[in-house]
């Protein structure tokens, strides 16, 4: 066992840290207020290799190892969770689907643009009646000669407002539930694709989540990822990656809250002493450190599994639950440490607290992760656990 980072991983982390602090953190407040990322930010992130993190260098990517990828998202999450969410959706949900299931031709067609940030990726799985029950999508797809025709409504499609490419899931055989689902790559200007209502959100205000209307969109067969019926496999793979990625971003925001809280607790004096010296306050930091450190090590382990090409499905589910808990508890405790200042928009901690709330919803709720984990736990016993 070796818990150390390689020289290369340290170099990547330092590079991502310096970029995130210099370019992302300083505009995070502005991103939240304006409810969008500054226009140049994603281009700059692309130049750092962030948008093609796991894409091979032959296709314009940074070809990071999985651990370096989690280090990258930790640093971005530390600077701004909105930005991290946009990049998670782009890299782990959309790009990963092409990377793992696209043909060589499809990879050459889309990955260079995704890696360069010329096209931002969106992921359209959720529907008004298919949230946690994601397999029951009702968006229909029918054959029309060599084309497919997609009709339906998607909700909460991440990045839809800024995307050039959409990974869309539709039912080729609605009766077969998840097994009858297929995945397609749609381009922004395909007739019939319309990006609708943007969700006004509590936190993550710099990220965009939209309703997407598919009104008889003609999609060539060459735009289908994998085979017919591979949709759920493709979606699950992307979701595993995004759980790992959001876990790393959650670690980052927990760390950011911790750092802000610690600085405040040292500075703020009451009863003649820094509040950091109070036992109750010390306990908040101790509890936060416990959660942060256990999360960090689990993320490193899952990244190692990914590197070994082993399954990390149940680790991803655990990480997602743990990261949301760590990030939410950290931001909540550190807001409390700030006292009245914590509730004021003048300090960043209330933004962190709002942003972290998203982690219990995005990429699968803890309720659904627990169902997956219970299924995993009982899998070998022959008992079938249903949601």
């Amino acid at each position: 066992m070796d818990f150390g980072l390689t020289d290369e991983q340290q170099m990547f982390r330092d590079m991502f840290r310096s970029f995130s602090q210099k370019e992302i953190a300083k505009v995070a407040e502005h991103t939240d207020k304006e409810e969008q990322l500054p226009p140049e930010l994603l281009n700059k992130a692309a130049e750092q290799g962030m948008l093609g993190a796991l894409v091979p260098d032959t296709l314009g990517g940074a070809a990071l190892d999985p651990l370096s990828y989690t280090l990258m998202l930790e640093e971005i999450g530390k600077a701004c969770l909105s930005t991290a969410a946009v990049i998670c959706v782009h890299t782990s949900l959309a790009t990963q689907a092409v990377l793992d299931f696209g043909s060589d031709e499809q990879k050459e067609r889309w990955l260079p643009a995704l890696a360069a940030g010329e096209a931002i990726g969106s992921f359209a799985l959720t529907e008004p009646d298919a949230g946690s029950d994601a397999q029951s999508v009702s968006t229909r797809v029918v054959r029309d000669g060599s084309d497919y025709v997609l009709t339906g409504v998607k909700s909460w499609a991440g990045n839809a407002g800024i995307a050039g490419l959409f990974v869309v899931f539709a039912a080729t055989d609605p009766k077969a539930n998840g097994r009858g689902m297929s995945a397609f790559v749609l381009e922004k200007d395909m007739p019939g694709l319309k990006v609708g209502h943007r969700e006004p959100t509590l936190g993550l205000r710099g990220a965009t989540f939209h309703t997407v209307y598919l009104d008889g969109v003609h999609v060539p067969e060459a735009n289908r990822l994998g085979g017919e019926g591979d949709g759920w496999k493709i979606a699950s793979n992307s979701l595993e990656y995004v759980q790992l990625a959001l876990g790393a971003a959650g670690l980052g925001i927990a760390q950011a809250a911790f750092d802000a809280g610690r600085a405040f607790a040292v500075e703020r004096k009451q009863f003649g002493v820094p509040i950091a010296t109070k036992q109750a306050i010390g306990d908040y930091f101790a509890e936060t450190v416990i959660e942060i450190e256990s999360l960090r090590h689990l993320i490193h382990y899952a990244a190692w599994l990914a590197e070994q090409k082993q399954s990390f499905a149940s680790e991803a589910a655990i990480i997602k639950v743990l990261a949301a808990r760590a990030a939410r508890n950290a931001t909540n405790r550190m807001l409390q440490v700030h006292g009245g200042y914590g509730f004021s928009a003048e300090y960043s901690i209330s933004r962190l607290y709002r942003d972290a709330r998203a982690l219990d919803l995005m990429g699968g709720t803890p309720q659904i992760q627990r169902v997956l984990l219970a299924q995993h736990v009982f899998a070998s016993t022959g008992v079938e656990v249903k949601p």
Binding site: F271, Q336, G340, S350, Y353
Partner: protein
């Protein structure tokens, strides 16, 4: 034992519920978006007598006691935390200080206008360097003939920008500090030298105006001393004790309303071929919410009964504030989770409740201070004195 409310309190609940339904509910979204509770609404609340619910009819109040006041806060808390905070800060702490310790003359001078809502009150204790450590206040009051000259600053004052009358704690004897050297004053904000800073931008409770207050040699007549010179800290702490009970009631209303909303959603929302109400993890969240809310309801109304019966209630008041704020935060958070992504949008009400409720764990004494108060009371019973 009789757990039923008296007929007049039951009638008060029906009356307030109707007012809230008709006048406040339709404005809730607007209040959050515009960061303003319309004057018109406050005027209607004043005409309905809501600004003087607990106080004696002798001074123009409704005479409904602490129990009646808790009913008001619970019913208002169901709808809008901002409006609740304005009326709560007015009654529960601003006016309450004068009501508890003011001279008869002072009460006759200010209470009728305050109870009628013609004037609004605020409570000014906190300063930049005196938050949880309230005894470290520095705002000073220097005797000058028949007056005191107040000089200094207050911070985070709820209702500060809209108040006509303030209950202010100031240091009259720096050698003694807050304990023994602080005095409470009723200060009119029209006095020369007073100014309120700009409204704080906050995560939630947008309609509740909060500001720093500046006192630049504000003249206050001697008759406006509330209680005794040098004993102002006691008046302030006593006032906060009472305020904590009603804060518990307000959080009770907020928690109950989100439980009801979450249950409605769980009934309507279908996933995996059945509604969420038929999912065990959702049922358990609902059961936990309901259990906590019931415990809080019992605590709040029993504590109100202690107050009305003239019995000691400091420890219980701290518990009302501590449990109330944490139960409300937990319930609202669970309700948001049950609503799923919908709960995360600003289109529904849960998101606003989630932002609004967080301050309850902080203002009117942080929950850390409540725990210290409760522990102090408990250890005092066995002869141990603890310090914060």
């Amino acid at each position: 034992m009789d757990f039923d409310l008296k007929p007049e309190h039951q009638a008060l609940r029906r009356f307030v519920r109707e007012f809230v339904q008709e006048e406040i509910k339709p404005l809730v979204k607007q209040i959050d978006r515009t960061s303003l509770v319309p004057d018109e609404l406050l005027k209607k609340a004043a005409e309905a007598g809501l600004f003087g619910i607990p106080f004696s009819q002798k001074y123009g109040g409704m005479g409904a006691g602490e129990t009646g006041y808790c009913i008001l806060m619970e019913e208002m808390g169901r709808a809008d935390a901002s409006t609740t905070a304005i009326i709560g800060a007015h009654i529960g702490i601003g006016v309450m200080a004068i009501y508890l310790d003011g001279t008869e003359e002072l009460k006759r001078r200010y209470l009728p206008d305050l109870c009628a809502g013609r004037k609004i009150a605020a409570f000014a204790l906190t300063e930049a360097n005196a938050g949880s450590d309230a005894a470290s206040i520095r705002l000073k009051a220097v005797r000058e003939g028949d007056s005191y000259m107040l000089d200094g600053e207050k911070m985070w004052i709820t209702n500060g920008p809209i108040a006509d009358v303030l209950s202010v704690l100031a240091i009259t004897d720096p050698s003694l500090g807050a304990r023994g050297g602080a005095t409470c004053f009723a200060v009119e904000t029209k006095q020369e030298g007073f100014s309120a800073g700009k409204r704080e931008e906050k995560m939630g409770l947008h309609g509740s105006p909060t500001a720093a207050l500046k006192f630049d040699n504000v003249r206050v007549p001697r008759e406006n001393v509330i209680g005794k010179v040098g004993l102002g800290f006691v008046t302030m702490m006593k006032t906060l004790d009472i305020g904590r009970v009603s804060l518990g009631a307000a959080t009770l209303g907020g928690a109950q309303a989100t439980l009801e909303a979450a249950m409605q959603w769980a009934k309507m929302r279908f996933q995996f071929g059945r509604n969420l109400a038929n999912m065990q993890s959702i049922q358990f969240m609902v059961a936990d919410m309901a259990a906590e809310i019931e415990a809080l309801r019992s605590l709040v109304y029993r504590t109100a009964w202690l107050v009305d019966a003239g019995r000691p209630f400091t420890k219980e008041a701290g518990m009302c504030k501590l449990l109330g704020s944490e139960i409300a935060s937990r319930c609202i958070d669970r309700a948001l989770q049950i609503h799923g992504a919908l709960g995360f949008t600003r289109d529904g009400g849960v998101e606003r409740a989630w932002r609004d409720s967080r301050i309850n764990e902080i203002f009117e004494g942080t929950n850390e201070i409540q725990r210290i108060v409760i522990a102090s009371e408990l250890f005092q019973e066995i002869g141990v004195r603890i310090r914060p």
